[in-house]
Symmetry: C2
Subunit: 79 residues, 2 copies
Amino acid sequence: MKFSVTVTLKKDVLDPQGKVVEQTLKNMGTNSLIGIRQGKYFEVEINEKDETKAEKQINEMCNKLLVNTIIENFSIKRI
Amino acid sequence: MKFSVTVTLKKDVLDPQGKVVEQTLKNMGTNSLIGIRQGKYFEVEINEKDETKAEKQINEMCNKLLVNTIIENFSIKRI
């Protein structure tokens, strides 16, 4: 079973990496750009037939390693 | 208008960063894990009312800066 995990910075957390990308695009002439925020993306494949159990395990992985829950949010989706 | 851009490594491209995360999770006792591949994620906000035009602009940003199309794939979604 395959899942995607998307990790984003919480709303009020500064995102210097995203700001640099944003500024670079603006310097390259993209005038319509309002803002960019950068996050992380994982594709996780797991050996588990039950979708609920699999999601629970992935949730655990996120809390244990993949996500810093103090400053980041995450969402899990089956793919 | 807000879009999400997900960038993933192409199938045959090695992903050492993902491998390290995978090995770490296995060492932490996640036995059911088959594999992890890591990618990038952007949330792009753009000042453009027409969805087709907006998507075209984001596509251009991807090809110009955000994505290395030799080794990476990307997908754009409206959020």
